[in-house]
């Protein structure tokens, strides 16, 4: 009885109540060009995604087709062509490796408007593998630790690609349900809403899952963009929100989003007990 009473008292005093509400989005929604693209120091096709904003929650992004896109440095230039299989996604026509010490300029021409952005790269770093732990209630695992969330000198974005479609018992499951892509961040800033961020969806995976862990180096500007994006997304909705505002951008002419360049280091681990 005592635990029940105590729990009730704690719940009454400390628990929040979150309810779904019907909150109309009152526009007009500005027609901003949205640019999402980070070039990396790996041999391959580099990609930039263009879209228009939507005026309701959960609406599919509206792809921007017919844009002319070019990435250039002082001594090279690459044209990007729209992926015929995915509208709004533009790929370099040839592979190239983005490198240190160069300034990459992105030019986009859409509907007679010219947009541009510049990006530079900071070096990547080797890193220690993430940690996982077993769930308390079942035989599955969860991510326990990826990296420190705070570093004034080496900000980074961490991409985890999890795949357990090959694990016995999951071979027949829809492969899209046996994969997950998670992002973590090491930023040079501390924010209250980061520390007291709202609860995040738990991702559980079986032993034998292969996790590819990638570290993306971030310039201070790129880190600031991601910080602001997180303030408006993953860190929003807790008890310590900050005043909402539009996420900053390095795009010109009223576009939004970010064009970045990152050095990527990676490793792959298999989840074992």
């Amino acid at each position: 009885m005592k635990p029940v009473i105590t729990y009730l008292l704690l719940l009454i005093l400390l628990a929040s109540c979150e309810k779904q509400v019907d909150w109309p989005i009152e526009g007009p929604t500005p027609q901003l060009l949205v640019v999402d693209g980070t070039i990396i120091d790996r041999q391959g096709v580099q990609a930039i995604t263009l879209s228009w904003p939507v005026d309701v929650l959960n609406a599919s992004p509206l792809p921007v087709s017919g844009a002319v896109i070019r990435i250039s440095t002082a001594d090279s230039s690459w044209m990007l062509m729209e992926d015929p299989t995915e509208a709004g996604r533009y790929l370099t026509s040839e592979t190239f490796i983005a490198g240190l010490g160069k300034t990459y300029t992105l030019f986009i021409s859409v509907q007679d408007h010219i947009y541009s952005a510049k990006a530079e790269m900071v070096p990547g770093r080797e890193f220690a593998a993430l940690k996982w732990a077993k769930n308390s209630g079942d035989d599955l695992y969860h991510i326990q630790y990826v990296a420190s969330a705070f570093s004034t000198t080496y900000p980074a974005m961490w991409e985890l690609l999890l795949n357990w479609s090959h694990v016995p018992g999951y071979e027949q499951t829809d492969s899209t349900l046996c994969r997950a892509r998670m992002l973590f961040y090491t930023l040079p800033t501390l924010d209250v809403s980061e520390i007291f961020a709202p609860t995040v969806e738990g991702i559980s995976f079986p032993g034998g899952t292969i996790i590819e862990e990638r570290r993306y180096s971030l310039t201070p500007e790129h880190a600031e963009f991601l910080r602001e994006m997180l303030l408006e997304t993953s860190w929003s909705g807790g008890f310590f929100n900050t005043a909402p505002a539009n996420v900053s951008t390095n795009l010109s002419a009223g576009a939004t989003g970010f064009f970045g360049a990152s050095a990527v280091t990676s490793l792959s681990v298999t989840v074992t007990p």
């Binding site: 105590t6 309810k19 989005i25 904003p53 690609l161 539009n246």
Partner: protein, 889 residues
Amino acid sequence: MRLNLTSVKNSLLLSLFFLSTLAPQAQDLSKKITVEVRDRTLGETLTLISEQGDVLFSYNPLSIRSEMRVSVKAIQQPISQILDLLLVKNGIDYFLVENQVILRPRNNPQTLLEEHSATANFFTLSGFIKEKSSGEALIGASVHLRGTPLGTSTNGYGFYSLTLPRGNYRVTFSYLGYKEMEVEVDLNSTRVVEAELEESLIEAREVEIVALNPDSDLSNNQLSEFTFTKKILSRLPGFAGNLDIIRALQAIPGIQTFGDGSSRYYVRGGDAGENLMLIDEVPVYNPSHLFGFFSAFSPDAINDVQIFKGDFPVKYGGRLSSVIDIKAREGNLKRFGISGNLGPYATNLTVEGPIVKNRASFLISGRVSTLNWINNLVNTLPDVKFQFFDINAKINVKINNNNRLFFTFYSGQDDLSRITENTFRTYGIRWNNLAGTLRWNHLFNSKLFSNTTLNYSQYNYNLFISSNQDDYWISQISNTTLKSDLTWYLNPRNTLKGGVEITTHHSNPGNVTLTDPLSSQQAPAVAKYHSIEYNIYIGNEQTIGRKLTLRYGFRLPVWQDIGPTTLYYFNVNHQVSDTLQVANLEGYQTYFCLEPRFNIRYDIRSHMAVQFSYTRMTQFMQLLSNSTTPFTSLEVWAPAGPNILPQTADQFALGCFMKFLRPRLNLSAEVYYKYYRNHLDYKDHANLLYNPLIEGELRFGKAWSYGLELMLRKTEGRLTGWIGYTYSRAFVHTPEVNNGESYPASWDRPHDFSLNLAYTTYGHWAFSLNWFYLTGGAITTPVGFFYINNTSVPIYGEKNNDRLPDYHRLDLAVTYTFSKPTSRYQHSLTATLYNAYGHLNPFSVNFNKTLDANGEFVVPSDVGSDVTLYSTALSVAGIIPSINYLFRF
């Protein structure tokens, strides 16, 4: 025949006319009788009162017109109140002498003041007013000359001084909740009259709060001011059975709290950081526990709370919007006592008593949360630790009649942590306040009162970022003040107040301490601030004629920033343009400001007055926060300097006060307009927590607010309370925010209605309720969304383009007192319901959550899959019940 008129007159004067032939007996003017008379002679009416009340009247029929037609309706009222209505209003004084009620025409000292101000001999009547049972000072108690509008009230230490022409006076001392005391004073020399007022009994049968003298003027109704006495506070529902100052503030027109569980409050359009809260003159930077659920002050340690929303006396400065001046109890000078409050969330205990009877006393009050103890006991949430405590202590020493020392100590701390193996879920925060005051009251003479104070206040905020709590972020602010106030009751028409003050301020706007040497070496240092503030202030309260009162003065603060520090200069784009290392004690920025204060009051009638005031306030120490949370988050304070201009606010207020006698109600109406210069604002997504260039995140503009405040208040009788309504607006214009467009402040909530009622039965029961209704706060909601990394990111239009749903809440409390008022052991049970009908008042609306398998709203973490997002509203408090056992002996 020549009639010797003189002899007739003398004989009549000498031979009192006996209206009644009743044998002399003990006269009891507190006896309640019913008298209903309409247009009858005074003589007939007095006969009626004499018969019903068994009282004997004597008067000279040559000077008292007994044929005067009068009307009076009084049902079960004390005889004294009926006589007040019947006689005093008609220019007749009455005295109780030798078991007879003697009537005589009023000898109006006001007239004497006017007629003989140049020639009459004036003498000073002064002294302290105290509570009879404890010997504690009564702050703001009324001193009034019966039958006149003349009077004064005690200062913050219970002292009063009144200079009058030579004469006989009937002086009444009264204080809400206490029995009135009246003394006859033959003022033919300077006199000291100490008054000890007896508390009206708690027992329901006699619980009516004693009426203030109906003749007392409205001098206690100052513009933009509100006072909570201990008695009034004890009648409010509070939170979880605890008297709560912050929540009590919410009931006052012009003051709005953020909402449930919040200790943030906004006064007349000012931000939460523009409020000064003092306990025995020392500032407390975070007056809350558990993020704001509990007030930081132990209820048993509070004596009196004065709230200034504008029209600030010259002794107050440093904040733009309000001053909450809390006076701690001094401790019982006469006997030992213990009191306590046992509740499910917190428990407090107070011990007080004389160190030397009637000369020195002590009070120690402590409170501790019980949640953590219970949690440890049953291990419900083993990784979560939360607790708070506070200690109030006071020593009061009466050295002699002219010198008194007080020492006040306050300390409070909160700990909240969740330590787990999982880094994402590990955090810990701790904040603590430490404050101490040493005060010396000195009476140079009956006209000159001084108070010299040395105080220290410190506030620390720790954020632990490792599980063993040795890596942490910390911000600090502290100040040390030495000041001396003088009150000079110069003459009947002028009371001068002045003082000097010097304060040192130190602020650490947030630095990290890391155990890893490399990280520690690489962590940037955020420069600390050091400043010295000097203040000189002087003001005068001047009476002109019968109806006009002026209060004017100024405050002259001088602010100087000194080293050591690292100073950054910013260009127009807010980029660092230069850096300067400032040496220890080297001054690098000085501000001089002048803060004029002016108030004019005109008494239209004895129970109706209008006032106008103008006040300028300057704020040098700024709270930097762009949080939209209702809770106290990680506070950072920074002083005015080369990059932060001091904020100033000019406030104009016009008010009207009326006092109705039947029923006894006070009505006040005020309008105000405030204009802010150098108003503090922030760039979008300002980084304020750990940023060496924090000043580059700030933006400055202007702001303005205006409003109308109405309040109808009943302070006497079994049913007490008030109804308040405020219409107010608050706007901000910062050139570099919101595309240069003006926008409503987030605390702009136009309609604010509050109802507070307390009722005490004839039995053992007492009931109280609060009901609040406020327009929802202004918020910024998206006008669209875009996608980055398959994550939906909101797009915003104008700042604060939307509003939260309207806020409303009902709090209920019922108290059953077991004991009789005469019992030494007083005890009662109080049941409270916070938010009684469980209305959920959202404080944020979000567009980034999905439902997990357990039906909980969570932030999606798999960016590789498509999820459905929901718009959700977050609120904190449903119904919060509490049962508390209170005792005192």
